[in-house]
């Protein structure tokens, strides 16, 4: 299977494993809920961007 990119810091994983060992085989993970989390994060970011044009005044 072709290697695409990394999740986190692969070099750190290698360093830590070399220094302190591993206690299991590498765990391959299917990322569930990635779409839900992306949608949620985009909603938060969109709301933040829109607040730049807010007409609210507090006094």
């Amino acid at each position: 299977m072709e290697k695409q990119s990394t999740f986190g810091n692969a070099d750190l994983a290698k360093k830590m494993a070399a220094q302190f060992g591993t206690n299991q085989e590498t765990v391959k993970v299917e990322m569930r809920y990635a779409k839900e989390v992306e949608t949620f994060i985009r909603k938060v970011e969109e709301a933040h961007q829109k607040a730049a044009n807010s007409k609210l005044v507090f006094r």
């Binding site: 990394t6 810091n9 591993t22």
Partner: protein, 520 residues
Amino acid sequence: MPCLDDHRKAAAEGVETFLLMPPFSFFDFIETRFGDYDSIRRIFSLARSFHAESLVLENIQPCGIVAEENEDIRQLFPAYSNTGLLRLSFWKRPISTADSISLLANDDFVGYAIVKRDTPSGDASSQWHVFEAVFPKYDHAHNCVPHPQTYHLAVDGQIFAIKGLLYCQQNGLNKACAQVAIRSLLSRILPEGDISYRRINEIAATIKPGFNPQLGLSVPQIRQIFHEVGLLFNDVDYSENGGLRKDLPYQKFAYAGLESGGGALVGFRLTGRNLQEEAKHIIPIYGHTFNKDTWAPNADISYFRIGENVGYVPSESWTSSFLGHDDNFGPNFCIPRLYIARDKVDYVMEIFRPGVCYSGVLAEALALAILYSLLPCLTGSANKWILRLIQWTNKQQVVFRAQAMTRDEYVNHLQALQDWEGNKEKTDFCTFLVNEMPRFIWLVEISTPQLFPANERKLGEIVLDATRKLNLGENFSHNDVFMFARLPGSYLFGGDIVGDNPQFTPVPSELLSHTELSRL
């Protein structure tokens, strides 16, 4: 960088001392000296609550940011005069003469207020207000104020220190609720320890030249002030999109801000018999109560959904009240978390701790995706806590608590942890790890509704790099910010993505079961 606290260290021109035991009456004292002011009454009520036994009252000269404020008001009201400036300090030890002040120590210090009388145009216009006040949080273990600031005050020439969060009140001349709320929160975060109203208003004027500061600040002005002082934030204006009140509740952002030490601003609409028109008010939030027996987490209302089918129990479920100031009424109030109705809240700003680039709310969402993906791959684990965590995850009964930390704070926390059997992490592991971590992280603690409130313990954490902005472009990715997951018995470090599946490298941990939550 110079500290902006000259006004707290102003020389006294006259010193009076008062013993506060009965029959001394604060009601009589306030009415005689000031008149009828809710905020000043609140200051004295706090002093009583802390069992203050003496009051030192000093007449002081305006200096530092107080003198600057007077100059600015005079620009707006040429006949303006600052007709009173008092430093009130409250003490646990009874002292009856100014000579006894030398006997006082920081442990005796209950709190202080600098109260100011402004006369913009003749005696009839005179008004007192609390320029600033600091009282500590109550000793009660259920009151939590992350990262309190230490303020230094001169009393009869001696310097005393007190921890708390600055309260400030508007005067309707050069500052409204927005300016004072911002100063409260920034005094804790900025390296110079305070910000002047002149600077706040000068920055606000860059957005709207010639604006009148007594009319408050708009959201774009508030945002510009935070940009100018180099702080990042997340904010939501609910007034333009009411649907966001349900999907992105203000309580989540307020809680994320206060837990990380930046605090939050909450803006809402006031209605009432005495208001001729709807008013918009904003207050600073900086702490919370922790109510371990609260019923709320058992109810669906406390469950936070990221999407249709995925959610978790946020740690703020055990918060009954936010701690905050209301400049109209005074400092250090408990504001019930569910009291300000969602439909009354128009605005929230979560302020990030300096060095942090994205919201604690987003950190929890990322942690959820990582944990809920990782655990199904660990069903073969021999650790019973992993197996329990899998069961709770299947029911989505997992508690997340996001904390912004420096790497040193995290590694000190990790070194101090002890699992239920008394095991501790290896020192060389912690020493090695600290050199590989970014300066600021999000520590998203993982717990369960049984463990979190009763024992204040957790099963591990997801650690994210807080110093990188999330990639929100077309190729959305949060891969870069993941550091590692710590679960009972194992750390899981990220690695290559093969196909669409990330590979995690397990490294053994000495911590085999639950450990203490972090406390900053």
